[in-house]
């Protein structure tokens, strides 16, 4: 193994980028765009939900509860007829109706007071936001009336104080962008090597198969780290995310993930005769990563019979490690297991990708 020969391949990849603005744009703009769009789309809370209040009671108590409803979350309208209000929900003109019965305040003393909620629960996020807002308004009213819950919760988070959904989500999208783009770029570049005959030419030279793979690993590892740098800048500057842990450790995770991805790309290229065939692998890469790697929802939310699949794909470990470093502030001592698993994936894929180059000899 001669590092100089591997570096010749690395240099050739970077030299090629000088004349290939489209690929440079893909390398830089795609992760930036993905991060920005996902960041903006997922950073917001549910707001401006149309609800109708039908207050048959008209007491101070019902007025106080209505007054305590969060007007940022809910757009409140009032109607007299419950039937007409429900019709609005049925027609899709409102998400829910809060009905305060005539005897609402009278029944408080006997603990039989009920607020009827007639809602459209077809959108679980909206339905959940409505229920939460109503519950909070009731709790607030109880507190104002001098009532107290017999039990209170004193919250002092171990990790993630002030963390919002975007803090959970950004490490995931970083790992996803780097895994997907590195695999895709390597796959396309290597299929190009195979179809153009340059791979054959290299194999007829003193270049060893492992040196070709190493040359690619170095090039795309560097590209992955540049992408990670851009994403970290956007995350911290654009979305005001604080990186609790060591950013250098985040780089190590990115480099390992890029290492896994490069070798996966080379491995997959062995099964594609043309670039068009290589593109057919994309759903195989995107879907499991998107759905199972814990980017948008925790792995614990995936049904237990399918959870093994989450642990069978490398990005799961990249996402978990990135999140632990960025949100929990964990160090090497805590995330070493994820790093070892990523390294093991990288080594296995590297051995298989070198074997796939040798298999071409037939």
């Amino acid at each position: 193994m001669r590092i100089k020969r591997a570096l010749a391949i690395t240099k050739r990849i970077f030299r090629g980028l000088r004349h290939d603005r489209r690929t440079v744009a893909l390398i830089i703009l795609a992760p930036v765009l993905a991060m920005t769009l996902f960041g903006i789309a997922f950073s917001g809370e549910v707001e401006d939900v149309d609800v109708i209040v039908v207050d048959h009671d008209g007491s101070d108590l019902s007025n106080t509860i209505i007054g305590n409803l969060d007007e940022q979350t809910l757009n409140i309208r009032f109607m007299d007829s419950e039937q007409e209000a429900v019709k609005k929900v049925e027609d899709g003109n409102a998400w829910a109706v809060f009905v305060f019965p005539e005897d609402f305040s009278q029944n408080i003393a006997t603990k039989n007071a009920v607020i009827h909620l007639r809602g459209d629960k077809s959108n679980v996020n909206v339905a959940s936001a409505i229920a939460t807002t109503l519950r909070e308004a009731m709790t607030e009213t109880l507190t104002q009336a001098g009532g107290e819950m017999p039990v209170s919760v004193s919250e002092s988070p171990v990790y993630g104080e002030d963390a919002e959904f975007i803090d959970f989500f950004v490490p995931g999208i970083m790992a996803f962008a780097i895994f997907l783009l590195t695999t895709l770029l390597t796959l396309l570049a290597f299929v190009g090597e195979r179809t153009s005959g340059t791979l054959e030419r290299l194999k007829a030279s003193p270049m060893r198969d492992g040196e070709i793979v190493l040359g690619y690993v170095i090039a795309f590892g560097v590209i992955g780290m540049v992408q990670a740098f851009l994403l970290l800048i956007i995350a911290t500057v654009g979305f005001n995310i604080t990186i609790e842990g060591n950013p250098f450790l985040a780089y190590i995770i990115v480099a390992l993930l890029a290492l896994v991805s490069v070798n996966l790309g080379i491995l997959l290229s062995a099964a594609a005769k043309r670039e068009a065939q290589a593109v057919q692998f994309l759903p195989m890469i995107i879907l499991p990563t998107f759905l199972l790697a814990g980017i948008f929802w925790p792995v614990e939310a995936i049904p237990s019979f399918l959870r093994w699949a989450s642990f069978a794909i490398p990005p799961t470990y990249g996402v978990e490690a990135m999140r632990s470093v960025m949100v929990r502030g964990w160090g090497l001592g805590e995330i070493w297991m994820e790093l070892v698993v990523l390294l093991a994936f990288a080594l296995v894929f590297m051995i298989l990708s070198v074997k796939s180059l040798q298999r071409g000899k037939g």
């Binding site: 001669r2 100089k4 020969r5 010749a8 240099k11 050739r12 030299r15 090629g16 004349h19 290939d20 153009s196 005959g197 340059t198 054959e200 030419r201 290299l202 194999k203 007829a204 030279s205 003193p206 270049m207 071409g360 000899k361 037939g362």
Partner: protein, 249 residues
């Protein structure tokens, strides 16, 4: 088994390459002297390219043995001493001529100064000096062929394999390619060329005619023509194919 440094440039003994039930190279015995310009001649599918690929260690033989420059094919010390020009141009289209040549120079372990010197000479020969910094994607087919030749020659190999180097090349360029191959031969390099152009084969010192993976005749073009009593190599090939082949020497 080593054949020693003074052995033949190329030697195969009972070389066989099969793809499933199909036999691409069938019990091939070749002996090519050092400094010889040897043409492997035959129609498409006769096994020429497969033979070259086995010799360049790009394909594993199913049977038999092959030696290059006295060493068994697969020996790591052979690769730096041979050159290979594949049938397709096999260049990085997004790189310039200079970048392509430099890459292959670096792959062969040459220093920057060595690459610069060899590149200057080669580009002058293939008449591409003024296009040196042009991306290969902007070059014509003929210019790409010339660049491909320069990449194969950058490390001044002792033994050069060229797989159909003149396919798709205009007659003027073909003539200049052959002049260069002859120059290489005079410098002591061994050149093995596959071609299905019978007229080109006349310029080889020795030719081996292949059909269905077998060597059906071997010798100088004149010897083969005389021994078959035909007027041209093309007629000689057809005659030999009908009879099942023979060796002129």
């Amino acid at each position: 088994m080593s054949q020693g440094e003074n052995g033949l440039a190329v030697e195969t003994r009972g070389l066989v390459k099969k793809y499933g039930a199909f036999t691409a190279v069938d019990n091939l015995d070749l002996k090519i002297e050092r400094g010889e310009t040897y043409g492997l001649l035959g129609p498409n599918g006769s096994g020429k390219t497969t033979t070259i690929k086995v010799l360049c260690d790009l394909l594993k033989p199913t049977g038999g043995e092959a030696f290059l420059l006295g060493k068994k094919v697969g020996d790591n010390s052979i690769a730096p001493r041979i050159g290979y020009m594949p049938q397709e141009t096999a260049l990085y289209l997004d790189l310039s001529i200079n970048d392509n040549i430099c890459l292959f120079g670096e792959v062969y372990g040459m220093s920057r100064a060595e690459i610069a010197s060899a590149e200057k000479e080669l580009l002058e020969f293939v008449d591409l000096t003024k296009w040196r910094n042009t991306p290969v994607s902007n070059l014509s087919g003929g210019m790409r062929h010339r660049t491909s030749l320069a990449c194969s020659m950058i490390h001044n190999p002792e033994l050069l394999f060229m797989d159909e180097p003149t396919v798709g090349v205009d007659p003027e360029l073909r003539a200049s390619f052959w002049e260069y191959f002859e120059t290489l031969g005079k410098r002591g390099a061994t050149v093995v060329i596959t071609t299905h152009y019978m007229d080109e084969a006349h310029r080889c010192g020795k030719i081996g005619m292949m059909r269905q993976g077998k060597l059906i005749a071997e010798g100088s073009p004149q010897d083969i023509i005389q021994s078959t009593g035909c007027g041209s190599l093309e007629d000689a090939f057809l005659e030999l194919a009908r009879k099942g082949g023979h060796h002129a020497d």
